[in-house]
């Protein structure tokens, strides 16, 4: 497997600019002769599709939702980072770069991260010009707030719905192009496979979710921006439709999958309430700016209402353990700290399976300091959402929160140009693995999605297309397209024909139980080995006993779910293998065998690399390759937020 990262030579600060200057261009008159397929319409996908169309390429964009505006980027609440230093608190591109590298526990590529920090400022300019209603100060200039893992205020926000506002911005740019006829938008279309011709990505096969029609599409390049795989845990903060199918199908066609074990557990979610729960709801990390996290010091107090526990009997464990970052400690650290206190039996809230899985996030001090109207202005919609779901008012009593799967740092392997090891297959946003290492800092996902879509892919894809001869695009009547279409049709027919006894959701739940328990917040060798075996058995059972109702020629939500669960099953095995083979703790990957009294213990000598998995065929285990991470300017150190 060719894993050349193609990091440009030269000093870190100049790499991107030098590289951009050397990238090849395509003559404006020739651009319309190239067809670019973009799969996914979240921040990365919408931004890329709009940008390609503005440049003059012929673009087709696909999404499974009924409108590109609904992609799950929309759910990001807290904000987007940018090294603008508007607050005059010492921020800079270098500082954002350092925070991100450190936040990622030194498992991200330096050059990619530096570029991300560099273009972060352009993103804010672009979004403001598009009309994104960021929060303002009375002088009319942009406001900022602080976020986990940073000691500066560099997060731009639009109430608690920054993701929605940014996505509407990108969607409006995309919509403009659709209106102009330069982008053909295919909604309710799910990518079910990738087509390779002579080893290069030349198209995709989709299923029209309304009519059931399986169709193929030929292009000169394929850009996949289909998000992460958090739903492998069944319960996560992801949308119900979020899936690994597009990236996993590409993986099956030869694309390397990097670091699948890097999954982020978000500390501030609403705790699980019952068996039939389908979804965990995130409360923005921004809440940690004003909320204080605590549990009772004594187990005996855990069943009491919060108000009856006196101040001196409360353990503000984040402030105690990490005095300099306090409640704003990075996500992985805050999550683990919460798990620890709950494991000690000091959790609060409803008893589920003999355990109280929850900690308090308390706003009483902030309400006293700032007044309820100010808190309402800052977090009103989050408090309302919390009350809707739990029936409790966070103005009157502390919120209860618990960590939940939220984001996945792993993804398809890409080089510096965001091109996978399959030529012509580019990957942007959460779907790739490039920028966050083993842990992502808050407000950085939106930054990366838009950076890839607006400011990286348009340059690097153009460079690739400059090397593709005009008119070389294959016809979709080519045998390669026919073969892949047949594969897809066969698979759909197979799923519909098994007619077993268990619903796809039952398998999804079973899958989630295994992955969350054995590959969740804490992992160990025994558990992971078991998980691999259990998942293999579950996969075999699935293909024998799944029952998929509905028909192939109409809207069939169960068929959609079954296909996604089938891919999650294969993927889950790979994720557990990756976690098993990475015998260290880093960021979101915490192996209980490798720790320093609760803190992650990295092994830089053995594991300062990205693990890249290669598909070996159905029923086979994938093979692990590595891309060494070379740090030119960063001193690897133990990550400390104390």
């Amino acid at each position: 497997m060719n894993l050349d990262s193609k990091i440009p030579a030269g000093p870190l600060v100049d790499k991107w600019n030098n590289h951009k200057a050397k990238l090849r261009l395509v003559n404006p008159a020739n651009r319309r002769k190239y067809h670019v397929i973009v799969v996914g319409s979240g921040l990365a996908g919408s931004a890329a599709a709009a940008s390609f169309a503005e440049m003059g390429y012929e673009v087709s964009c696909f999404c499974y939702q009924d409108s590109p505006r609904r992609a799950h980027s929309i759910a990001a609440q807290g904000g987007i980072n940018a090294a603008k230093n508007y607050q005059n608190d010492g921020d800079s591109v270098r500082r954002l770069f350092q925070d991100t590298i450190k936040g990622g526990d030194y498992r991200a590529r330096e050059a990619n991260v530096y570029r991300l920090a560099q273009v972060s400022t352009n993103i804010i300019d672009q979004c403001v010009a598009q009309g994104v209603p960021f929060a303002r100060e009375y002088g009319g200039l942009l406001a900022n707030r602080s976020f986990g893992g940073a000691q500066v205020s560099r997060t731009f926000y639009a109430r608690g719905q920054t993701g929605q506002q940014l996505l509407i911005g990108a969607y409006s740019a995309l919509s403009r192009q659709i209106g102009l006829g330069t982008v053909k938008m295919y909604t309710r279309h799910e990518m079910l496979d990738l087509v390779l011709v002579d080893g290069k990505a030349k198209g995709i096969v989709t299923r029209d979710l309304v009519t059931g029609a399986v169709e193929s599409w030929a292009s000169d390049v394929v850009v996949v921006c289909t998000g992460g795989y958090g739903n492998v845990f069944y319960l996560s903060t992801n949308a119900q439709g979020c899936n690994v199918t597009a990236t996993f199908r590409a993986h099956r066609r030869g694309a390397g999958f990097a670091n699948p074990c890097y999954t982020q557990i978000h500390p501030t979610c609403i705790p699980v309430h019952g068996e039939d729960q389908s979804k965990l709801t995130l409360m923005s990390e921004s809440l940690r700016n004003d909320g204080r996290v605590w549990v009772p010091k004594n187990k005996a107090d855990c069943a009491k209402p919060a108000a009856e526990i006196p101040e001196e009997a409360r353990d503000y464990f984040l402030e105690r353990k990490y005095p300099s970052y306090g409640n704003l400690a990075p996500r992985d650290i805050a999550s683990r700290a919460a798990k620890e206190v709950c494991d000690e039996g000091r959790g609060v809230g409803q008893m589920v399976d003999g355990k109280r899985l929850g900690v308090y996030l308390d706003f009483s001090a902030a309400i006293k300091r700032l007044g309820e109207p100010e808190i309402r202005a800052r977090y009103g919609n989050l408090f309302d959402m919390y009350e809707n779901i739990t029936g409790e008012s966070a103005y009157k009593q502390p919120m209860r929160i618990f960590p939940a799967v939220h984001y996945t740092m792993g993804g398809l392997w890409v080089d510096y140009n965001l091109q996978s090891n399959i030529p012509g297959l580019f990957v942007g946003g959460e779907a790739n693995f490039s920028d966050h290492g083993a842990n992502r800092l808050g407000a950085s996902a939106l930054m990366q999605g838009l950076a890839d879509g607006y400011f990286v892919l348009p340059y690097t894809v153009t460079d690739y297309l400059a090397g593709v001869p005009i008119g070389s695009r294959p016809s979709k009547e080519a045998p390669e397209f026919k073969a892949v279409t047949k594969d897809v049709n066969d698979r759909v027919a197979k799923l519909l024909s098994i007619n077993g006894t268990k619903s796809p959701r039952q398998y999804h739940k079973a899958l989630g139980k295994i992955t969350w328990e054995k590959c969740g917040m804490a992992r160990d060798k025994v558990g992971l080995t078991q998980a691999v075996a259990e998942l293999q058995a579950l996969r075999a059972d699935f293909w024998k006993n799944v029952k998929v109702v509905g028909s192939g020629d109409a809207l069939a939500p169960e068929l959609e779910r079954a296909g996604r669960v089938a891919d999650f099953l294969d993927f889950g095995i790979m994720m557990c293998l990756d976690a098993l083979k990475r015998e260290e703790s880093c960021g979101g990957h915490f192996r209980t065998e490798f720790q320093d009294s609760g803190e992650a213990k990295r092994d830089d000598a053995q594991f300062a690399h990205a693990a890249v998995w290669e598909w070996q065929g159905d029923g086979q285990l994938p093979v692990r390759h590595i891309e060494p991470l070379v740090y030119e300017e960063t001193q690897l150190s133990t990550r400390s937020y104390k």
Binding site: Q126, L142, L180, Q277, K279
Partner: protein, 269 residues
């Protein structure tokens, strides 16, 4: 507040749920659920119904849903005659079963409006909304051409007002609740968000005229000021956006009438 090993409160429910295939007439089907936890969301209740149907070997009910946290705007059910159900200010996915009574009969049907044809069961085609945006719901700014962000000061009250309008999640409850099937609240929210901001001024008139024209062509009805849309909007967007849309539309029409070319001032392409 703290419930220790408390047995979950459950409801027995009768459901009348709409069943329809594309381009065919539909009808209600009756089903019963024995024990729905009050902590479940409405969509989780629908999941339970679907799992029950699968066990019986029957086709499930199709409904749109995605984020299940009230922001993507995908979920769309008319519950007991009310888009998004009986609780004001929330989406279907944020409606929890504690808002229903034991033994209650719940009627579940799709958004009802000519502009939203049914694709299957509770799933409707809302592409009319996208077409409205495509005709003008944007500020023309090419990637990379934006000026430094703080060059455009936006007074806080203006930014807040734009944000109030921008909260619209495009779910279509306004159309579904309107007795005229009108999309004025959606279009008003979208137009207001951009027309209020300094960045949006260049294309203001053009945007307003184009979006209203597309809205009319998409088969939505007309506003007669019932106010149902505001009462059913999960983001509580107010009729103000319609008043301001009307004002901007009048303004643009008058300017168009008196302009030398008979066309609104052009922005962008």
């Amino acid at each position: 507040m703290v419930q220790e090993n408390e047995k979950e409160v459950t409801l027995a429910l009768k459901l009348r749920v709409w069943r329809q295939r594309r381009c065919q007439p539909g009808a209600f089907e009756e089903h019963a659920l024995a024990a729905v936890p009050t902590s479940a969301s409405f969509l989780e209740m629908m999941d339970m119904l679907n799992e029950q149907l699968i066990k019986a070997g029957k086709d499930t009910f199709a409904f749109d849903h995605d984020c299940r946290e009230g922001i993507c705007g995908m979920c769309s059910m008319t519950i007991n005659g009310m888009p998004h159900g009986p609780l004001p200010g929330v989406t279907t996915c944020q409606l929890h079963m504690r808002n229903f009574r034991d033994g209650e009969t719940i009627t579940v049907e799709p958004w009802r409006a000519r502009a939203f044809p049914v694709l299957k069961d509770m799933i409707v085609d809302r592409s009319g909304f996208d077409k409205v945006i495509q005709s003008g719901g944007f500020i023309t700014v090419r990637t990379g051409s934006a000026p430094e962000a703080n060059n455009i000061p936006v007074p806080k009250p203006v930014a807040d007002e734009a944000m109030d309008a921008a909260e619209c999640i495009g779910c279509g409850a306004c159309v579904a609740s309107c007795k005229n099937g009108s999309a004025m609240l959606f279009v008003g929210a979208k137009i207001n968000h951009l027309n209020i901001l300094p960045q949006g001024q260049a294309e203001r008139d053009r945007r307003t005229l184009a979006m209203v024209k597309t809205m009319d062509e998409a088969g939505f009805g007309n506003c007669t000021n019932y106010g149902e849309c505001q009462a059913h909007c999960p983001k509580s967007i107010t009729l103000d956006v319609i008043a301001k849309l009307n004002r901007d539309y009048l303004r643009a029409r008058v300017k168009e009438f008196f302009s030398s070319t008979g066309k609104p001032s052009k922005g962008g392409d």
